[in-house]
Symmetry: C2
Subunit: 411 residues, 2 copies
């Protein structure tokens, strides 16, 4: 057995370890399946968008020069020579003194360089309009390359695709798109006290809360979860299941049995693999201190606290970002957490030298949002069920003051 490298890390040191792990592979998928997936190619406009000059208003296409000086008092008259059909190129050519009827989205006829809104015109007879308002060239017109110009970078590799991004890919005719695969994440629950959720617990036993919670968390994080089931406190069983999980997935989560023996097993199992390295054992956050990250070959094994609340918070703070990182995402910093601002309802002391994650309930009173702490032991899940927010108390802070404005991570 190799000598393990033990050390407790600060949260920022944990993030610095992510680049030790390779990204997942790429795959090509149909555009309609691509929302929420991470782009694995740069997208450059292969043509101008929209590709032709379009009207942005219903009205008349004309030469802007004809309208210079037009006003309510001295309207100018134009001869209507026809109408543009939607989706078609017209043969009509607009000359001085002429106009062509046009609808929003239609292609400008040759010779026209602006569109006057119907509201600023008056029908004199079937073939003649009055125009009350001067137009600048290109007014109410989208230029042929105004949305995207040919050759322009539209979206970069590493970007998680939003609905509007799907829209621009559709506009460019990308019916298939190259994305990163979703990281596959094996979930192992350990402990002699853990039983399947379909069974009735005897005194001393609890149902397998962690597997199902982690399954949901992995999906939330953009990974594909894979339940490996419950492993009792047996070193060889854990080795076997862990080897199988490593072969078949990108990340392995071992949610620690709470027994003392079990915790040693996790370390022993990790060390039993060739090319294994424990990157840290212990991180300065609360709850969640007894977290482990190991590298076995190119794969990551996370050892999670058995206490469900601790496991969830470790997942949100580190593992979700880890899955996004190896899943190719490169803009995670901004949108990782959804936050709101609120005022603390009470004073909350904290220990310096670790990040505390306080569970809170957001309550609105006369338009003011208050954060009320939900107290409870980290072995209880009710604190997180009753909470709808987390407040991070920084490493170097002594706590939070009553009425202080804090950033609340929505959960």
């Amino acid at each position: 057995m190799k000598k393990p490298f033990f050390s407790t890390k600060s949260p920022s040191e944990v993030f610095e370890l992510f680049p030790h792990f390779p990204l997942v592979d790429k795959e090509k998928i149909p555009l309609e399946e691509a929302k929420g997936r991470v782009l694995a190619e740069d997208i450059t406009a292969n043509e101008n968008l929209p590709g032709f000059e379009r009207a942005t208003m219903d009205g008349y296409a004309l030469k802007a020069e004809d309208t210079f000086g037009a006003s309510e008092a001295s309207p100018i008259w134009l001869n209507i020579i026809g109408e543009v059909k939607m989706g078609k190129v017209t043969d009509l050519v607009v000359k001085r003194g002429e106009a062509v009827k046009i609808a929003t989205g239609a292609m400008l006829p040759q010779g026209a360089n602006a569109v006057i809104m119907v509201e600023y015109t008056h029908m004199v007879d079937e073939n003649t309009i009055e125009v009350f308002k001067p137009l600048a060239p290109l007014e109410n017109v989208i230029r042929a390359d105004e949305d995207f110009a040919k050759g322009e970078l539209v979206l970069s590799s590493g970007h998680r695709l939003r609905p509007q991004d799907i829209g621009v890919l559709a506009a460019l005719g990308k019916a298939h798109v190259q994305v990163f695969k979703q990281p596959s994440v094996a979930i192992i629950s350990t402990g002699d006290e853990i039983i399947p959720i379909t069974e009735k617990p005897q005194p001393g036993q609890v149902r397998d809360v962690n597997s199902y919670t982690l399954y949901a968390l992995v999906r939330e994080g953009g990974g594909i979860p894979w339940l490996m089931g419950i492993v009792k406190d047996d070193l060889n069983d854990l080795k076997k299941v862990c080897k199988y999980a490593l072969d078949k997935s990108d990340v392995v989560l071992i949610s620690g049995g709470s027994s003392i023996g079990m915790r040693d097993f996790t370390l022993e199992v990790i060390n039993s693999f060739p090319e294994s390295q424990i990157l840290f054992h212990g991180v300065a956050i609360s709850p969640g201190k007894p977290t482990i990250l190991a590298k076995i070959g190119k794969k990551a094994v996370w050892g999670l606290p058995g206490q469900v609340t601790s496991a969830i918070i470790v997942f949100w703070v580190f593992i979700k970002k880890f899955i996004q990182w190896i899943g190719g995402e490169r803009e995670a910093h901004l949108k990782t957490f959804n936050t709101m601002h609120a005022r603390m309802r009470v004073n909350v002391p904290s220990v310096q030298g670790r990040e505390d994650y306080l569970r809170v309930k957001l309550v609105e009173e006369n338009g003011q949002l208050w954060a009320e702490p939900i107290w409870g032991k980290s072995g209880l899940i009710n604190t997180l069920v009753k909470a709808n927010g987390l407040v991070k108390i920084d490493l170097n802070t002594e706590g939070l003051d009553k009425e202080e404005i804090v950033e609340v991570i929505l959960i």
Copy 2:
């Protein structure tokens, strides 16, 4: 043809119309599929959780009374009578002067009422420990009903399930859970200028951006999208497709062809159905004014602007919430938008009497987040691709001031 009821609504009046529509049906699904779904039953604890007294620390179970007065200077001695096996009930009974070895999560033996952490003990010999610290009864113990008590309401119908909720359902042995079905949403794209995304547009034609964008948006909103394809400017075709969509789905979205004729068609098609009612035509937001909501039988038909940026904003502001509403969700108010605070980079004027949705890019500079407007016509999609936020300018505001702190909706 019935006389249509036309009127422009304010955004808040639009939300008041939602209860005119029935909720979707319910279904029972496996727990692992339930994340993000809306609960359609109240969940009451059918047993105490965890169901037995558990240690929250590694150490020794004992009678707290034995430790009263203990200190570093005058430790008390206890006789170790054995160890609790994880997941098992022990036969051991703790009497005065005795202690039992216990690990986090294990069941307290009879007679014990507290757990001393290993750190506050010292091994005297194999069967004896010194305890340095007094304990209160129940210290380092989770009571049998401390997580949830039998009969307690755990989660309410109408709640969208988060990972921690999945956890508590697992703890209660709910392997299946009753949820609302995901609303099915048919998407119809109309207009003579629209072509399938796999085709090469001729001048005057554009690819079907709206169908794909709406498909992604419906998924983001928790609905099941269904692409009905492109309908050319033909009244009978649109009637046929709309009837089919109404028969098979809960909501129909008609993304307006931009031609004048097409817009009339949408209203005419709606009015051609028996039991149809136009609830509004026009809403005081920008972009997005020419939005339609109609009720046909019990189903909703939304007419969306053809301009893609307008359609996306109308979706986020109204239709996403509508899908969540008929999908049974009842806590949508708080988490509907994910927001951050930033300072405006420039002054932005606005028209009173309508809600303006300004596209912005969030830029961080020395720890300060700035919102920079992304200007552009609503027929362009690049504004929303380059933006990562929206700033709402209220109905009664004249605009935003430079350096003003604004709430930015993350997109």
